[in-house]
Assembly symmetry: C3
Homo-oligomer: 207 residues x 3
């Protein structure tokens, strides 16, 4: 019922909603993985989510290339799809790194990071889902501010964890491993912030 001149446009919102859904799943799965000391199921699950994320990204970019009229600027759709995919990829990269480095005892720092990442990805999801209607501008904007705040929290966390690591670690090999893992964890929050920036620029253009 009803008739829309721009039926194709709405697909983008559905696709982005699916994509942020996968990002939230990835963040939950990552949390599970690190709290359960790298159980096999979470690792396999992580891999599946990464794959599903790739497929939605591909679908968005393909639709973008074939669609003339888009609900917002093409380059913003492109950036949004790419960066939401990067969130999932980065979480998978860390999970895979923990496996490759044969880390079986996850330290409490990484669990702390997993919590902040979960909060940030959920705020990203709120912001992206809100884009369906500019009536949500205020709450979208608040979610973006929250993502920016959590990125700062992550910076401080990484700095204090690295400071501690360099001061206390005896084994240089352990320093090499954990330094990279903490920096990667913080990178997830950087990517979330990049998504927030794209969302904020979409808001400005529509205002």
């Amino acid at each position: 019922m009803g008739f829309s001149f721009l039926p194709k446009e709405f697909n983008f919102f559905d696709l982005f909603e699916r994509q942020v859904g996968h990002a939230v799943e990835a963040a939950n799965c990552f949390k599970e993985l690190v709290t359960n000391n790298m159980n096999e199921d979470s690792l396999k699950n992580m891999h599946d989510i990464e794959h599903q994320g790739d497929e939605v990204t591909h679908e968005i970019l393909n639709n973008l290339n074939k669609t003339f009229i888009t609900p917002f600027d093409r380059e913003d759709i492109h950036a949004l799809a790419k960066e939401l995919d990067d969130i999932i990829d980065m979480l998978y990269t860390i999970a895979n790194r923990l496996r490759v480095y044969k880390i079986t005892k996850i330290d409490k720092n990484l669990i702390e990071f997993a919590n902040v990442i979960g909060e940030s990805v959920r705020a990203v999801a709120c912001a992206v889902k809100g884009l369906r209607s500019m009536k949500n501008a205020k709450s979208i904007s608040e979610s973006c501010v929250e993502v920016n705040r959590l990125e700062n929290v992550g910076d401080s966390m990484r700095d204090s964890m690295l400071g501690e690591l360099f001061e206390t670690a005896k084994d240089p090999i352990e320093v090499i491993k954990w330094k990279e893992i903490y920096q990667d964890a913080e990178t997830v929050l950087d990517i979330c912030e990049d998504v927030a920036h794209v969302v904020q620029s979409i808001l400005v253009k529509q205002a």
Copy 2:
């Protein structure tokens, strides 16, 4: 003989053909360098190729800025030129790193990587050369699929090499060096995949 309304367009195909030519040369030279344990000639050769690659890239981007009509989207031409240049740059970066780290004994892993990189860059070359005519769409697409496959192969290779390195290496300094080199080698395959993505999006838009 014959007459073309779009003579300028054809320059881009010639320039891209030259650029992928340099990329293939770089991959061959890299193979030679690592199989011949860093001989001076290959290193110098690598540097020359990198320089020639820069020049074509510059020429493409300059032409792009001065040309109004282009055979495909400006941003795709820009991305293609940049990423083909990145392939060559990354290969030179690894070669230079091997020199700076005074590595004289190349391990068999890196030779294995050089082979996969060679295969991937040749597939990239097929894809890019095919762009002259959309009649090649099927074979272009197959080359892109091959590049994606080789990127997955590279991921597994890097993972198993890093796993082995962390498990067996005694000297942390060696871990620092080789970890970076394996990760860089895999990055070359990532960049090849980026090129394949650009090519695939050009295909979709022309379809």
Copy 3:
């Protein structure tokens, strides 16, 4: 007095002038920080400059999203603002890293890098300020050439510093720290070169 049809355009030049001003301040502050062995004041100052840089970047991007007519291509304005911001961010990142790694004795190499960075950022500032008028094309172009030259100087510096580090350092932890710091310092020069490339492409388009 006088009347302009494009009053909005001129804002961009003022904003870019403010932004390169902050970049020069950041380079000066970085020099001070490393020559004075990490005094607290310089570190705080660095943080303030980074914050001011963020604000101008935000202002430029916001104006860009709200302005229809721009003095040069939108994507060039965007790239210029982002990369000038990246210069400041990277300098702050290094300063913060020195703090986190509790490095109190700065080696002469980093001071040498701080000098080259200062030169490069000042050349970037000349190039960017020159954009107000295409009469400056020749001097803008010369500044860009200088930035490119200094990037090559930085490459050689980093290579010889890394070579020395790997050859002489006894403590792997020290290698981890300084390797990252030298590479970051060279990255500042890479970003300056990226700015020069954007400026050069603006020149080509206006020619």
